[in-house]
Every structure is written in C-alpha cells, then in structure tokens.
C-alpha cells in the first residue's frame, strides 16, 4: 500500500500518511507564504476584480489550496471584500471560505456580517437561504446576537428553502451558545413548525428540537405528533423517512389497537427500495411489537429478501453491513437463512473481511439439509491461497463438527493428507478442542494423528499435538516415539509453552505406558531442572520431579483428570438469544463492530464523557457526587443539601458492625427501582466518595445480592445500612438503622444514599 514509505523524512509528521501526500503537499507547503502573497495580490488587482471569470478563478484557487490543507487565512480580508458581489457562484465560494476560517479570524469575520445581513433580506430566496445558512455556520463567539433576528425572520419566511435553513439554524445557534439554556419560545415555534407544508422543514424541525432539547431527553413524540408524522411519511423522501422512523422509536402506543394501526401504516415501508428505510421500519416493528414474538418473526421473514439482496449487492460495504445484521438475526433464529445458504458462498474476488463474515454465517445456518453442501464449499476454502482465510475455514468446520462430528472429522483428516504446514497446525488445534467437547470422535482423531508432527512448526500447533499425544497416548501406537523426537530436540525448542506442554504430556503418557516413557521422562526432567533457563519451565520440572518422589498413586490422582467435558460446549456457544435483546441495536453500528468491540468503544467514550463534562454541569449536586476527584466540591455542597456531614475514614470492624446491627431496630426502610446488570465495584467506589464505608458485600452476580454499609456524621451518629437486591423483583431494598434517633439527619443520609444509587443507575443505562 505504501510503496515509498521508507522515503519519508523522519521529521515530517505529514509524511506518515504515505508518500504521495508528501510529494503533493510539500511544494506548496514550503512556499505557502509565497502562494498567499501571490493570491493576495491577485485578489486586490482591480483588473482581475473587474473581470468576473478571472476573479472567480482566483477565488477557486484559494478554495483548492484550502482543501489541500494550506493555511489560507491570510487572505481573509480580501475574501470578505469579494463577498459583496452579485455573482452567486462567487458568493458561495467566499461563504465557504469564511465558514472555514471564521473561528481563526473572528474580528475580521464580523466585517462580513454586514453583507450577510443584507443578503438575508434579498428578494431572491436562494440568496436569503445561502446567507442565513452561512451566517449560522460561522462558529465564532459573539455571532449569536447577529443571527438571532435573521433566524426568527427566516422561520416565518414564505420560501420553504429559507425555512429549512432557519430551522436548522436554531440548532446551530443553540450549540454556539454553549450553555444549556433553552429558549422556550423558540422551542414552541419549532414544535408548531412540525405542521409545516414542506416535508423537509418538518424533518429539520425534529432534528433541531432533538439537538436543542438534548439534555432533556430530546424531542418529545406524543400521540398527536406521532400520528401527524405517520400521516406525512409518504410525502417524505427516503432520508426523511429513515429519520422519522428513528424518531418514532421513542413513541409508545397506548393500546394494542393503536399499535396494530401503526404497524399497518408502516407496512409499506418494509417494501421500500431503499435499504435504510427498510431496516429503519424493521427496527421500529421489532421494538413496537416487543410483546408479540410472532409479529417479530414475521417481520424478520419479510426483511429476508432485502437483506439477501444487500448481501449480494455490488457495493462491498453494503454487503458487509448486511452480513453483520444477518449474523445478528441468526443468533436468535438459527434456521432463518438456511434455505438460502448458497447466497453466502464466497466468490473469488471478494475482499477478505466479507469472506470471513460469510464463513461465520455459513457456520451458523448449517442444518441437516444443507450440511453436505456447506461442508463441501468450506472444504474448498480450506486450500485457499490466503492462509488466514484457509485457517478461518478450518476453524469453521471445527465449529460445525460439534453437531455433525463424523463428516467434519473425515474432512479434517483428509486435509492432513495435504501436508501443508498452515493447514496441519490448525487442523490439529481443531482436533484438540473437538476431542474435549465431543469425546465420541476420539478414536477417529487418534487414527489421524500419526505423521502430522512433520508438518507442524508453530507453537500453537505443537502444543495442541503434544496435548493430544499426552492425554490420548494409550490409543496412539507411536505416541512415545513422537514425543521422544520432541524430547531429543528440546534444546533447540524456542517456545517455553511447548516445553511446559511436553513435560505434562510426557508425565501423563508415562502413567499409561511406563515402560516406553521412563527413560525419556528422566532425560527431560534432567534437562528441565539442570539446563533450562526459563524459570517457569524449570519450576514445572521441579514440581513434577517432587511429585514423582511422593509416589505414583499420588501422581495418578493429580494428573488423571477427565479427558473431555461436553458440557463446556454449552458455555462456549450461548443459547439462542431472544430478539428483544438486540432489537434496539438493529440498524445501528453495534452489529457492525460486534458487541464486544462496541462495548470497549462505548466504554472509552463514556469515560471521556464522564471525565471532563461532569464537573461542568450545573446540576451536579442534584445528580449526586460520584467522581473521586471532585471530593472538595462535594464537601462544600453537601452541607447545604441537608446539613449532614459524614466523617471520612471512620472504618468499623465487621464484628462491631454485626453487634451494633443486631442490637438496633430498623429506622427506615425503602425500595428503589433497579434494573439490569449490577457492578458492586462501581457502587462501592461511589459510596466511598460520599464517605459511606462498605463493610461487606456479596460478589457480583450472586442473587440475592446483599451489602452492608456504615457511615458516621460529625456528631458521632452512626448509620448502618443493608442493601438487598432480590433476583425476581427488580428493586433495591434499603434498610437503615441509626444509633441515635434523629429523623432530620436520617432523612438527609437517605437522600445522599438515594442520589448515589440513582446516579449509578443512570450511568449504567
């Protein structure tokens, strides 16, 4: 991809992106000042200014350099002058320039406001719209006061083009303000504009309201609005439809009747030719019908066609996204795409990531009818020129082998006959996992193993082979001789993990075939103890040596563990997940990234969001202190919130706590709502911050979950608390005991506790 990357200069940061950007950019980059000077001269030249085309061309050059990443802010003054023109193309170019550099030159940009304001009352709606849009996009401090009036005028403009711009302008203005103050009159105006004639104005209103009311949970979709939107749906274009479908997700129909009316209205969008609309409608169906599994299944059957079409679409990107969603559906309905298995056969020219997805899909949709054909196809992939793809295919066969063991083991055995290194090693690893999960195939695997040691070079493969020889060595006639080869060459072995595996395997084999193994076991132990430099291997050797000294019966008792565990398979592939568990992720980026990857992404995003932003919010005291760094701030705020001062670090012993707990009566009992997962560590940390100590708590996941907390205020009053989370009723039960009966402090203590738990609940959801 980067043929000349080594040519890049080490000092040049820009060069790290590849050779060509360097060569293209370097010339103008070094001479960028000259370029600016030259352009400046040209822009000031009255002859050029008089010639419309030449003037426009110079401006185009400025834009081009701007795109290439040169700093063109030097000609800002000249560009402002160029904005006063009747040539609308030139105007657009200049406004584009200004929007880019206004944050850098706010004082100069103010000079342009005059022209923009004048344009906002131009008789031509296109000019009005353009000026308003540009003015709202200036993104510099202090511009709000100038744009407020034009926006308000724009909202009542008779041209829909200007109204569209003005509606989005409201969101821009709100975000420029920075503070979270919401202009109630403006919001009302926007809500009333939802009834506008122009469909794009309607959709823009939704978007704008969503941004303005972000902190309050976004735009409210009540019954009249929802029904209004549903009725306007057919007037919208595909983008509007997709967006409105997304907004409708938050509407909850009051009755079953209304629900099915809505579903009937939406039916036609499942047949739309735009995949975005189809998927949006599908998601809405899945969410609305969450209590009607048969409706959900029905919808998923109907979306099959569009999804399959997308899977074989010409656009690889669309194909990939569709495949990810197919996998998501297969998790809940394993047989869903089984009759279309041929659609998921890879074709030669597809990129790697699509092939891998397809193999995964094939693996999941296999059933009694298509297993023969799918395996036949997968077998073809195993010899693919790309080693990675071949290995993925072999692992896939291994996955299918858990259900269709005999056929798969036969195919895998045949693959060993090819004597290809990268194939053999993966096949042996697959065998190892398979024998553990499906003990019935042990015989076949043991027959296939002899001979493949010649074709294994990598650590993983060697480990798998040695493990198999050790555990099932009594069924493989030449097992001791293969291991002997490994023992002979142990000095040149580079992977410590292989040596560890060899030690264990040889000792196991020694137990079943002592005569053949005794000698080499001695040699291996001697080598590991006397000559080996890797500490772990050495220790393992010493450990086995001492174990052998104890006596052979003891060794047998310790080493001869079960050789297979079919129940592990259940752990590895979780049972079918209900549709509702992923319905809210459908048609988002979650299935595309994969659930696990998404979790890490949203985690680091969440950390960013909580980190810098929380202290800024004004509602901090209400939302409850959580972040340890904000200790000081909290201590200032807590007294006014309830005149309660909890003393830090007053740690009680568990014994004392128990004694006190038993001697006191419950002063207060309360239940708080609690849903979903639970992370005791987070809770403990949060409580720590407000100086509530955790005395004891159950481990995460245990049901019922319990925790005991203690706290003491500055007057010496003790609060002892029990938190109880019952598995079935989704509530947290709180019981508080107090050693001095003072209701005032008790109430403030409880409110502190409540906010902490409430905050955690919020963060979690």
């Amino acid at each position: 991809m980067l043929p000349h990357q080594d040519e890049k200069e080490p000092t040049s940061y820009r060069g790290s992106c590849g050779s060509c950007p360097v060569t293209v950019r370097k010339m103008p980059y070094l001479g960028s000042e000259d370029v600016v000077k030259e352009l400046k001269k040209a822009l000031c030249n009255p002859h050029i200014q008089a010639d419309r085309l030449r003037y426009r061309n110079v401006i185009q050059r400025v834009i081009r350099y701007m795109t290439q990443g040169l700093d063109m802010s030097g000609v800002f003054m000249e560009m402002v002058k160029a904005s006063a023109t009747v040539d609308i193309v030139q105007k657009k170019l200049v406004y584009l320039y200004m929007c880019t550099y206004a944050p850098l030159k706010p004082d100069l940009a103010l000079l342009a406001i005059n022209t923009l304001c004048k344009d906002c009352s131009d008789p031509n709606p296109m000019v009005r719209g353009l000026a308003l849009r540009s003015m709202c996009s200036l993104r510099m401090p202090g511009v709000q006061e100038y744009i407020q009036q034009p926006i308000l005028n724009g909202l009542r403009d008779k041209a829909s083009y200007v109204r569209r711009v003005a509606v989005l302008g409201c969101a821009k203005m709100h975000n420029l303000h920075g503070d979270s103050e919401v202009d109630g009159a403006l919001v009302n105006e926007l809500y009333s504009l939802l009834r506008d004639q122009d469909p794009i104005v309607v959709v823009n209103c939704l978007r704008s309201l969503e941004e303005i009311l972000k902190l309050e949970g976004g735009v409210v979709i009540n019954k009249p609005i929802a029904h209004h939107l549903l009725n306007r749906m057919s007037k919208l274009d595909q983008w509007g439809q997709a967006e409105v479908l997304n907004f409708l997700l938050r509407y909850q129909p009051r009755s079953e009747e209304e629900l099915f009316d809505i579903l009937n209205l939406l039916d036609s969008f499942l047949k739309s030719s735009s995949p975005g609309v189809v998927m949006g409608a599908t998601k809405l169906f899945l969410i609305l019908a969450k209590k009607f599994p048969h409706v959900q299944t029905d919808v998923l059957v109907r979306v099959k066609g569009p999804l399959l079409a997308a899977c074989s679409s010409e656009s690889r990107e669309l194909c990939f996204v569709a495949l990810c969603h197919v996998r998501q559906i297969l998790h809940s309905l394993p047989g869903h795409f089984s009759s279309h298995y041929k659609k998921f056969f890879c074709s030669y020219s597809e990129p790697h990531y699509i092939k891998l997805q397809k193999v995964e899909v094939l693996c999941e949709l296999v059933n009694d009818e298509n297993v023969q054909q799918v395996l036949e196809e997968l077998r073809g992939y195993c010899t693919d020129v790309s080693a990675d793809f071949a290995q993925a295919a072999i692992f896939a066969i291994g996955g299918i082998a858990r259900t269709y063991t005999d056929q798969c083991v036969q195919i895998l055995t045949e693959l060993l006959g090819l004597r290809q290194e990268h194939i053999t090693t993966v096949v042996v690893q697959t065998f190892r996992d398979l024998v553990w999960l499906c003990p019935q195939c042990t015989e076949a695997v043991c027959q296939a193993l002899p001979g493949c040691e010649e074709n294994i070079q990598d650590s993983e493969g060697k480990q798998a082979l040695i493990w198999l020889l050790g555990v099932h060595g009594e069924r493989i006639p030449n097992a001791p001789y293969v291991l002997e080869d490994f023992v002979e060459n142990v000095k040149s072995e580079t992977f410590p993990a292989v040596k560890m595996e060899l030690l264990t395997a040889l000792l196991r084999l020694f137990l079943s075939r002592p005569a053949e193994c005794q000698d080499m076991l001695g040699r291996l132990l001697y080598y590991c103890i006397e000559e080996e430099k890797d500490m772990a291997v050495r220790d393992r050797g010493l450990f086995y040596y001492r174990l052998l000294l104890v006596g052979i019966d003891e060794v047998k008792r310790i080493l001869c563990s079960p050789k297979s565990d079919p129940t592990l398979g259940l752990l590895e592939d979780p049972a079918e997940r209900p549709v509702n568990s992923w319905a809210s992720d459908f048609n988002t980026l979650v299935p595309v990234y994969g659930k696990a990857h998404w979790a890490t992404i949203s985690k680091c995003q969440g950390a960013e969001r909580c980190g810098p932003e929380l202290p800024k919010t004004s509602s901090f005291a209400a939302s409850g202190p959580l972040i340890p760094e904000d200790n000081k701030e909290r201590e200032q705020e807590l007294p006014d919130s309830g005149a309660l001062m909890l003393v830090p670090n007053r740690q009680l012993t568990a014994d004392y706590f128990e004694k006190t707990w038993l001697s006191l009566k419950v002063a207060h009992q309360q239940v708080l709502p609690w849903r979903g997962e639970f992370h005791p560590d987070t809770l403990q940390m949060a409580l720590q911050v407000v100086n509530i100590q955790t005395i004891a708590m159950s481990r995460a996941g245990t049901r019922p979950w319990k925790a005991y907390l203690s706290a003491q205020d500055d007057t010496g009053c003790l609060f002892l608390t029990e938190l109880l989370l019952e598995p079935e009723n989704s509530e947290m039960q709180i019981s508080v005991k107090q050693n001095e009966a003072r209701t005032e402090t008790l109430n403030s203590f409880i409110s502190v506790l409540e906010t902490v738990i409430g905050t955690i609940e919020e963060i979690k959801s």
Partner: protein, 421 residues
C-alpha cells in the same frame, strides 16, 4: 448526523473536505483515516472504523474514498446509501466520477455538498430539486482517445460503431443542457448483469448467480413520461409461466420507487417519469437453473510436466455473444485448484470463473422503446485462449500416492494466471 465529509484519492490526498459541525478534530481527520485504513490488519473490516469517539464510514467508488465521520450511533445502511447516492450525484453533475473530474470541479462539488447536507443532515438528494440551486457549470475535459477514432470509418464509410453514440456519450454532466451545445434529448439504458459462475472441470455448472439491473441515464427534460417494455415472456418467481417458450425467468425483482407498475402485470410495461441523471430502474436476481445457456463456454486443460515441475493451465473461453456487442469490463479470475475427482484432496476439480460482464453496448438512444434483460444472447464468435504458467513454477510436491493431487498455492493473489484480460 454527519460531522465531516471528505473525498480522498486512492493515494490518500484530500480532494474535498467539508466540516459540517465543527465539533471534532480539524482536518487531520482525513490523514488519520487514511493511516488507519492502510494500517488495518487483513481480517478486520475497514468499512466502519472507530477512533477517539469518532466513527469513520466510507465507500470506495471508482478508486476514490468517500468518507463520512460521525460521533453518533447511526444507521449504517442509511449512511452507506447516502454515500453511494452522493457518488452518483457527483457523477451526474461532473459527467463522471474520478480524481480528475473532482479536482477540476471543486467549486461545483462544494456547492452540491452545501445543498445536500446542512449541519450534517441530509436535505435533499433529488437531481430535480438540486438543479435549481446549482449555479456552477461542470468543467469537462475531453482527452484524446484512440477509442473514439474507431468510430470514424475509413474514407467516410459507415462503420458498425458510427451508427451508435460513442461510449463516452453518457458520461456528460446533466446540467450541461444549460449551455448552448449539446441540448440533446437522450436516454441511455444499460442492462448490467453480474454473473458469478462455478464450473466443474467437466463443464457442468455447479453454481450460477446472476445479479442484474436496468440503469437509466436520462437527459430528457424532467417530467417527460417514459415507458419501458420488457418482453412479455418475462416471468418472476419459480412458478409463474408466461408465453409458450421457456421464457425469461428471474427469481426476484425490485423496482425503483418512482416506477409505476400498473401495466406491469398485464403487459410488462414499466412507466416512469425519470429525473435527470442516473437511476436504477429495476434490479433482479437469478440463481441456479438458468433458462438459457451461459453466454460463454470454458474449456480448461491442465498439463503438468513432471520433469520440469511446470504446470500449464489452458483456459479457453469461448464467448457466444454476437460480435457487435462489446463487453467492456470483462474480467476473468480463475483457477483455484485442479485435481482429480477422487483424490482425497482439497477441492473437487473446479476452477472458478467470475467474468464481470458490464454494460451491454451499444446503449439505446432516443426514446427507449423496449429493452429486456437478455440472459441468452444469440451466438457469436469470440474466443480467448490463454496460458497461465504458475508463478512459482512448481506446485508444492504432493506426497500422496495419487499422481494428480495438486494443490496449487500461488502465494501472491495476482499471479499472471489469474487475470486474463
């Protein structure tokens, strides 16, 4: 909600860059994207990438990267659709989409983007609405091409090609009607079929998959109605039967939302009022049993010279298309493995063939009276034969007892044996 949009050339140079919301990291983003893309491990998908709270979603179109960034968990389907719509739009307005046309028409592209997206929200993508707002005219360059010369007959004689429009006729901007010159009312109708075929060594078809679409590029004034008649024997689904012959059958068909299907059931007529620019009128799919033979035949022959360890693969491809039709984008990628049927070896004896046959030229000109997704063209003569010597010379020696268990693994994906045309 889109934060930024940019177009990168295949080498990573930014051609177009627009920041809609100013909420995220400046213009280094384009570089960051390219670096991430090129540094991605092979098994990860580049379609959606994440960096520092920002998602990159891109499509590759005619060797350009069209990328959007967003910080929200958006619908990937809609975004990809938008990107491909943008690609079509840019193609419509600039004549064709490519590095050259984009950099020549920077002003036009920015103007388009400005109207299509505001604050990262889609406003409209319809050519009709947009043409009212777009003022810049496209700069079209006409490079000299030998291909054009072929349409000039010797001594003024009429050639086959001179009867039809040159192949570049369709790649002109929709807006050029404003200028004086080509005020032609033209319609171009393409039937594009993609065939994925798997053929066994004995010539029988193992798997056939046809994806077809009827693409329309219209330069007619908007509002003019058009009727496209398909052959009356066109059947949809496995059970339907029309006409007397075997008919032309497809498994599934879907139409653009602007197509009026009133007369489709009775007379197989599609009525539509096409907007200017390109439009996919109909998509169809067909798999497994084809109603007509393939438009080509393949004769493989494999010879392994044991002495020199060389393997020679001859793939003779006979095209049954009439000679006056051209297949511009034909590409044959082939040769997976070859080995005898009964050997306990990797694959059954097959070679994989995926010609990507492109548009059927000549394109219909004027009001299209009838076109049909022709699956079985008449016979013609075109023969390609090729010799594919395998790059690493010697197949890795098989040790099985069968003399013929070959498993070829040309280590690089693009040996000379793999692209024939």
């Amino acid at each position: 909600m889109i934060s930024q949009f940019f177009i990168l050339s295949s080498k990573g140079d930014p051609l177009i860059y627009k920041d809609f919301r100013g909420d995220s990291g400046g213009r280094d983003v384009a570089e960051l994207f390219y670096r991430k893309l090129t540094g991605l491990p092979g098994d990860e998908s580049p379609v959606v990438m994440h960096h520092d709270g920002r998602h990159f979603i891109h499509i590759r179109h005619s060797s350009l990267y069209l990328v959007v960034t967003t910080s929200e968990n958006v619908s990937p389907f809609s975004l990809l659709e938008l990107l491909s719509r943008l690609a079509t739009l840019l193609g419509d307005y600039c004549g064709s989409l490519g590095e050259g046309t984009i950099s020549r028409n920077v002003a036009l592209v920015y103007e388009l983007l400005d109207e299509v997206l505001d604050y990262g929200y889609v406003q409209t993508t319809s050519t009709e609405m947009l043409r009212n707002f777009i003022q810049t005219e496209a700069v079209v360059s006409k490079p000299f091409s030998l291909f054009d010369l072929s349409s000039v007959g010797l001594f003024g004689a009429e050639t086959q090609q001179s009867k039809v429009a040159p192949s570049s006729a369709a790649s002109r901007p929709v807006l050029s009607s404003r200028s004086d010159q080509s005020q032609k009312n033209e319609v171009f109708l393409d039937v594009v079929e993609r065939l994925s075929v798997l053929i066994a060594s004995n010539g029988s078809l193992l798997k056939v998959d046809v994806q077809g679409e009827i693409r329309l590029k219209s330069f007619l004034p908007s509002g003019s109605e058009m009727r496209i008649g398909l052959t009356e024997e066109f059947c949809v689904g496995k059970s339907e039967l029309r006409g007397y012959g075997p008919g032309i059958r497809v498994d599934e068909v879907s139409f653009h939302s602007s197509v009026n299907l009133d007369e489709f059931e009775s007379h197989r007529i599609l009525r539509l009022q096409p907007p200017q620019g390109e439009l996919t009128v109909m998509r169809y799919q067909l798999s497994d049993d084809l109603p007509s033979p393939l438009p080509f035949r393949l004769f493989p022959s494999v010879q392994w010279d044991r002495g020199s360890g060389r393997l020679q693969v001859y793939l003779k491809l006979r095209c049954d298309l009439p000679s006056k039709r051209e297949i511009p984008g034909e590409r044959v990628s082939s040769a997976r493995q070859a080995c005898p049927k009964k050997a306990p070896s990797p694959a059954p004896s097959l070679s994989k063939l995926q010609p990507v046959s492109g548009a059927e030229q000549p394109r219909a000109e004027g009001r299209a009276g009838g076109g049909s997704p022709s699956l079985g063209p008449a016979s013609g003569a075109r023969r390609l034969s090729t010799l594919g010597p395998f790059p690493d010379g010697r197949p890795r020696a098989p040790r099985t007892s069968q003399p013929w268990a070959l498993h070829l693994g040309p280590s690089s994906g693009s040996g000379p044996g793999q692209s024939l045309l």
